[in-house]
Amino acid sequence: MERVTTGIPGLDEMLLGGFLPQTANLVEGAPGTGKTTLGMQFIHHGIAACGEPGLILTFEEFPQQYYDDAASFGWDFRQMEREGTLRVVMTSPEVSKADLEQVGGRIERLVQEIGVKRVLVDSISHFERLSETPSELRALVYGFVNALKREGLTAVLTRESMALLGEAEGADDTLTFLVDSYTLLRYVEIDSAVHKGLLVLKMRGSNHDKGIRQFDITSRGIEVRAPFEGREGIMSGSPRRMVDSFVQAFVRR
């Protein structure tokens, strides 16, 4: 089966080769976990290694922020813009959605002009200000995601999680039903140090690695490493060593 590689060492293996083409892929995490970096790496890899032009739709950060952040990993987004293989578009959810609904809108023209194949939407959380009603919000996001797919794009959608460690309380899961894959980035506290963990929770139409892997943000971008071993309760944010749990359960009675 054809795959859209992310170029992220370790993640493509977890995804059994990469995302499926023309799918919407949600990446959720707390501030600083690396959602935008993962998305930028996906876009950069597409342009630099696969010849697939990219689009970044940003609902908050200025294009300059992306140029600077990308430069810190050695990715020259400004040059890619000049060469016509990348567009960083600062806009709002309501305008981008209305634009995609139009025949021959700006985004559609952009896709055709430079042959965009990949899109990073940073972040989909901003749709939440368009409606307080879950069903209406679901319909809004559903329309937006489908419009991206209609344009033949493989999308990475970032979503902010307020939980720094452990499970997010009261998280609205409407979006997770609409997307094709769902990847969680989490902070994990081990021996008084904060590590980062990545888990692919869902991948529609494909098998995937269900392990919780450690990852680092290096000078080359994200690198996914080995699974957390000998620990349990990783997603709680405060994992226990399995031997401790065993002792607690069976020995200290």
Binding site: F62, P63, Q64, R87, V88, V89, M90, T91, S92, E94, V95, A98, D99, E101, Q102, G105, R106, L110
Partner: protein
């Protein structure tokens, strides 16, 4: 007194590129417009409503609504209807884009900025 001031303005603007001076006189005649032009220069693919552009520029929407409309009237921006919203984007006109680029680059020079600020303040009186 007024003659003296006109003379000073003339001397200040004398060494300015005539095209740049014309752009400053006819397009950038308020500080809010300067901010907006800088924003569209840095984010040339943006299409958005006055409310959102105000948020990006850190200005009140009532302050910039009229300025956006004037910039559209003067051909620097395009004003369009989109799904019941009025949206603004940078004009596709290559000459305007080049002039804007020239203006923003010139604004990095302190001497140019001082002259441009003086010109705008004088125009606001």
């Amino acid at each position: 007194m007024e003659d003296m001031e006109l003379d000073l303005t003339g001397r200040l603007m004398a060494d300015m590129d005539p095209d740049l001076l014309e752009f400053l006189r006819t397009k950038v005649n308020s500080f809010a417009k300067w901010d907006l032009l800088r924003f569209f220069h840095d984010s040339p693919h943006t299409t958005d409503t006055a409310e959102n552009i105000a948020r990006y520029a850190g200005r009140g929407v009532e302050t910039i609504r009229g300025e956006l409309a004037e910039l559209a009237r003067d051909g620097v921006l395009e004003e369009n209807q989109l799904g019941g919203m009025i949206v603004y984007s940078l004009a596709q006109d290559q000459r305007i884009r080049e002039m804007l680029d020239q203006f923003v680059k010139a604004s990095d020079d302190r001497q140019f900025r001082v002259k441009a600020i003086y010109h705008i303040i004088r125009g606001m009186r």
